[in-house]
């Protein structure tokens, strides 16, 4: 393909401009702002621009500086010995590709684009730019470091703008991935979004779990409370029932006991009353009996008794005295008995003296003497006593006579006194007196005993009190029977065995009640203490969802970045692999000449890096370390054109150099010219430059 002519209308600074190109090297010389870049851009627009575009940046870039008219570009080119014209009319928004030789045209933009892609061999403007369009930056980028050289080589394969660095992209992607994953493998103070989201999700989940657990517990507590409440009500009902039953039992028992006691008291009172009546009757009889002995009450019976006894004793004594006196009187002397006694006594005494004398003297004679003497003395003494006794009897007889009178008087007085007493007490003889007196005393004693019994019976109370008490007790009994022993009490009559059983059940129920009350309290405390704000849980759940989405977003982003990273790397590798043979062959064609035979072989790596074989060193070496910068530039250009050839399948695309070598020194430019002259045999070269030094490189076209 060879560009022949470019016609610009209202395209940037050019209102009307025609530029002609030759085969080989075309030097388009012009000052700054002369429009060199505009022409190079216009060539690409002629091939690739869409005249229907509404894209403001595109329209802004190409619009006329002088008119309001939209631009029109026409490019005439030669391809396979045919001349073609391509028109992009931005005013009419039309495109047209015409085979000038055949006169055939197509106007459908898509068809035109396809045809151009086929003719040029480069599908898009971008591909053209990255391969056959060599800018100043492309060369400048090579610099002299290995890295920048590789970057420049890699950049050939990209369709982006010149400043795109593949390594830069990979580093950026990797950095982004690292940032995203920060803290995933090991702790990081400022973790990335993935870890942050995961952590937050973990935190929220834990909190939700805890809160939900709390809610569950509260619900369980509330439920426990509710069921405890219900059960408590049942238990309390049952307690009430049993308590009532037991109370009724107790009431019944007490009432029965009370009734028993009342009955006993009533019986006692009845008995008392009967006994009282008996005693009263006895007392009446006794009182009536006592009436018969009223004299004893009227007179002092005791005194009378003493007087009577005295009088009786006196009369008896007087009688006895009279008798004695009469007896004494009946005797004339002293009594022979008494005399005999005395004589016997004297005789015995004499015998006793005779016996003692014999014992002392042991001689009968002496004993007889003593005995005679004693008999004489005794005889004398007996005569003396007889005489005094006779005298005394006479005197006594006189005295007795006086005494008899006295005693007779006393007897009379005593008899009269006795009679008076007996008359007073209306008895006939003293024994009657004493008998009646004894009877009276006995009656009185009995009466006292009855009284004592009555007062013992009544215990200081009056009989009326007792009767009242009886009434009271009966009333109390009735009261109990009616008011205490109600039908309900009677109905709930249970046995003592049942009572015990119920009591035990009640104890159990009390314990149960306590437990339930405790449960209820615990439940209330738990519910009120641990009440959870469910709104808060809702917010947590929402935050969880947001974080889940966030995590999903970052995981997706991570996958996207990882895919981009891996596949850019892989694409680079594969692109390099595909192009390497052509690129290596293209470089090797000129390498020997360029390096004066020092290097002949080149090898391109997976990452577009180049190594050259040094026969001197017998090894593959890095060109950056071993070749001059000019040679490096040449190798870069060869590599680039080799890549161009690889992708265009040798279609001979015009190479556009937009002041690519502006900063090159004389030597470097000289070396470059050599390679350009070689390249010009295979490619049309449009060299846009500011510098007249390039004038002689080829056909010159000056723009002003």
């Amino acid at each position: 393909m060879t560009f022949k002519k470019l016609i610009l209308q209202n395209y940037k600074k050019f209102t009307n401009k025609e530029i002609y190109f030759n085969s080989g090297i075309n030097v388009i010389l012009g000052d700054n702002e002369a429009g060199k870049s505009t022409i190079s851009e216009a060539l690409l627009d002629a091939l690739y621009a869409d005249p229907r575009t509404q894209n403001k940046s595109v329209l802004g870039r190409i619009k006329s500086w002088k008119t309001d008219e939209n631009p029109k570009i026409e490019l005439i080119f030669e391809h396979n010995a045919n001349e073609f014209s391509i028109i992009k009319d931005f005013a009419k928004k039309e495109a047209k590709l015409t085979n000038i030789d055949s006169g055939k045209s197509i106007t459908n933009l898509e068809d035109i684009t396809d045809s151009i892609a086929e003719v040029v061999g480069l599908a898009t403007r971008e591909v053209y730019q990255s391969t056959a369009f060599i800018s100043h930056d492309d060369i400048a980028r090579i610099a002299t470091t290995d890295k920048s050289f590789v970057n420049a080589l890699q950049n050939i394969a990209t369709e982006g703008p010149e400043d795109v660095s593949l390594q830069g992209i990979l580093i950026t992607l990797n950095d982004e991935l690292k940032k995203m994953r920060l803290g995933m493998d090991r702790h990081a103070n400022n973790p990335g979004p993935l870890r942050l989201s995961e952590n937050r999700i973990k935190e929220i989940k834990a909190e939700i779990l805890q809160k939900s657990d709390q809610v569950k517990k509260v619900a369980e507590s509330a439920q426990l409370g509710t069921s405890a409440d219900k059960e408590l009500a049942e238990v309390e009902e049952k307690i009430k029932e049993i308590e009532q039953l037991l109370e009724n039992y107790s009431i019944n028992e007490k009432a029965q006991e009370k009734l028993k006691s009342l009955d006993a008291q009533i019986k006692q009172i009845e008995w008392t009353l009967v006994a009282y009546e008996d005693l009263q009757r006895k007392k009446t009889h006794m009182t009536s009996d006592l009436e018969m002995y009223s004299q004893y009450k009227k007179f002092d019976a005791e005194k009378a008794s003493l007087e009577l006894n005295r009088l009786l004793d006196l009369r008896k004594l007087a009688s006895e005295e009279l008798n004695r006196i009469s007896i004494i009187d009946s005797k004339d002397d002293f009594s022979p008995t008494k005399d005999v006694f005395l004589k016997t006594l004297l005789f015995v005494g004499l015998l006793a003296i005779a016996g003692v004398s014999y014992l002392i003297f042991r001689q009968w004679l002496l004993t007889a003497v003593v005995l005679v003497l004693g008999a004489i003395i005794a005889l004398l003494f007996s005569k003396l006593i007889g005489k005094s006794a006779h005298d005394a009897i006479n005197s006594q007889r006189e005295q007795n006579k006086q005494n008899v009178d006295q005693w007779k008087f006393k007897i009379q007085s005593a008899t009269e006194g006795i009679k008076k007493i007996l008359d007073d007490f209306r008895v006939e003889d003293p024994s009657g007196f004493f008998t009646n007196k004894a009877r009276y005393g006995l009656l009185n004693e009995n009466l006292r005993q009855v009284d004592s019994q009555i007062s013992g019976l009544l215990l200081k109370a009056s009989i009326n009190d007792i009767k009242q008490e009886q009434i009271n007790l009966l009333q109390a009994k009735k009261e109990i029977e009616i008011n205490t022993l109600t039908n309900e009490v009677k109905k709930s009559k249970i046995t003592s065995h049942e009572y015990l059983s119920f009591s035990r059940e009640l104890d159990k129920l009390y314990n149960k009640q306590k437990d339930l009350q405790k449960q209820l309290t615990v439940s209330h405390v738990r519910v009120s203490d641990s009440e959870v704000d469910t709104d808060y849980i809702t917010r947590l759940e929402e935050e969880l969802e947001t974080n889940n989405l966030n995590l999903l977003y970052w995981r997706k982003k991570e996958k996207i970045y990882q895919l981009a990273y891996d596949n850019i790397k892989q694409a680079l590798k594969e692109t390099a692999k595909t192009a390497s043979a052509v690129v290596e062959s293209e470089i090797e064609k000129d390498l020997k000449q360029l390096t004066a035979g020092r290097y002949q072989k080149v090898r391109m790596g997976d990452d577009f890096s180049l190594t050259v074989y040094s026969p001197e060193k017998e090894s593959w070496v890095n060109p950056i370390d071993n070749l001059s910068s000019g040679t490096i530039d040449q190798i870069y250009l060869l590599a680039r054109l080799g890549f161009l050839k690889a992708i265009t399948k040798n279609n001979g695309v015009p190479i556009i150099c937009d002041d690519a070598f502006v900063t090159f020194d004389l030597n470097r430019r000289g070396e470059l010219m050599g390679i350009f002259k070689l390249l010009a045999e295979r490619y049309q070269i449009l060299l846009f430059t500011l510098y007249p030094e390039y004038e002689e490189w080829g056909s010159l076209y000056k723009i002003s």
Partner: protein, 373 residues
């Protein structure tokens, strides 16, 4: 004699609104406000009975503050002499320790308030209004057996009203507390206040059985939520049903084919034309996008956030890579090779990974073309 009935259901106080992100708390307040609106409307219009056909709460264990709010509003109605019927729904079903088991709601006693939570038909005779209410609560999340069969009108009462929470067998066998239309129809009740479905809906044409829908939208797919029903019953049949809007937010459902737009900006521009801060925009992006047409979901949401109450974005777009597109990226070049590698993976992967591969293609191409991460 006329009976005025305010019918509300599925309020879902305290609802979990995960799809609303940072707006969830605000919308929970909207739900409260809309319920309050319903209560105010019933009061203002002199309703005789206020019915909640289940799911007043979003869960069986609502927070204290939500319970207080609900009870305050119940009391407000009762203080105005309005009868209040509340049944449990499948979301706030009666469970042990739940709000309908033991709470300030269950402790509240008033002759004009009736709480029905058991899955058996209960009858409430309101002599003063000549009304008989038959209702059943919910005790299960899913209940296949219907508690609503065997209904029969009681002629002693002028108005026989059913209050139920479940699914009507409109299409096939319903899965929750089934309500058979045949039962409803045969009963000759004056009105059925139904709950469970969040959109306002008449269960069957010609039958006075209605779902009032939620007074505020709960989920993002409820385009006909945000209402209460004001029902007037008299001798005339059918009942007069008025759908009263009480909700604050509505749904705007949009499907955009990105293929019809030249740029991302155009799409945003288009979406801004219907902007409304009371709308939740449910946006689905569909169609094919070119490799350069990068749709950053976060950016779209951010750009529209000020124009709508909330934006839900579903990106169902697919990367468009025609043969021509592929041809424009020669496989000998990096981008072409990169695309090919990923397209090969896409062929191997199931659909789940496609979206990731598409985005990886877009990211890689953008980077290789000099774009930034």
């Amino acid at each position: 004699m006329t009976l005025k009935l305010a019918h509300v259901s599925d309020v879902h106080l305290g609802a979990k609104l995960v799809y609303l992100g940072a707006k969830a708390e605000d919308h929970r307040n909207n739900i409260k406000k809309s319920f309050k609106n319903a209560v105010d409307t019933a009061t203002m219009r002199g309703a005789d009975i206020f019915v909640i056909s289940g799911d007043l709460f979003d869960s069986s264990f609502p927070s204290k503050s939500v319970q207080i709010f609900a009870l305050d509003n119940i009391k407000r109605l009762i203080e105005k002499g309005i009868y209040f019927v509340l049944i449990s729904g499948n979301h706030d079903r009666r469970e042990s320790g739940s709000v309908y088991d033991s709470s300030m709601i269950t402790e509240y006693k008033n002759e004009k308030f009736r709480l029905i939570t058991k899955e058996i038909q209960e009858e409430w005779l309101i002599e003063e209004l000549g009304t008989r209410i038959v209702a059943a609560g919910t005790e299960h999340q899913k209940n296949k057996k219907t508690p609503y069969a065997g209904l029969q009108r009681n002629g002693n009462y002028k108005f026989n009203i059913g209050v139920f929470h479940g699914s009507v067998d409109i299409k096939g066998e319903p899965d929750n507390n089934p309500i058979r239309l045949a039962d409803l129809k045969a009963s000759k009740f004056n009105y059925f206040a139904l709950g469970d479905w969040h959109n306002t809906l008449q269960a069957m044409k010609g039958l006075d059985a209605w779902y009032s829908g939620s007074p505020e939208l709960i989920d993002s797919d409820q385009e006909r939520a945000g209402n209460m029903l004001f029902v007037t019953l008299d001798d005339a049949r059918p009942a007069s049903i008025e759908v009263v809007k009480v909700g604050l937010k509505s749904i705007l459902k949009k499907e955009i084919d990105v293929g019809a737009f030249q740029s991302f900006e155009q799409i945003i521009q288009n979406l801004k034309t219907e902007k409304n801060k009371d709308l939740i925009l449910n946006l689905t992006l569909k169609g094919l996008k070119s490799v350069d047409f990068v749709l950053n979901e976060q950016d779209i949401i951010q750009l529209l956030n000020e124009d709508y109450y909330f934006v839900n974005l579903k990106n169902e777009t697919e990367l468009k890579l025609t043969e021509k597109d592929l041809a424009s990226y020669p496989q000998d070049m990096l981008i072409g090779r990169y695309i090919k590698l990923l397209m090969d993976q896409k062929k191997k992967d199931d659909n789940e990974g496609n979206e990731i591969i598409d985005e990886a293609i877009q990211l890689g191409v953008a980077l290789l073309k000099g774009g930034k991460v």
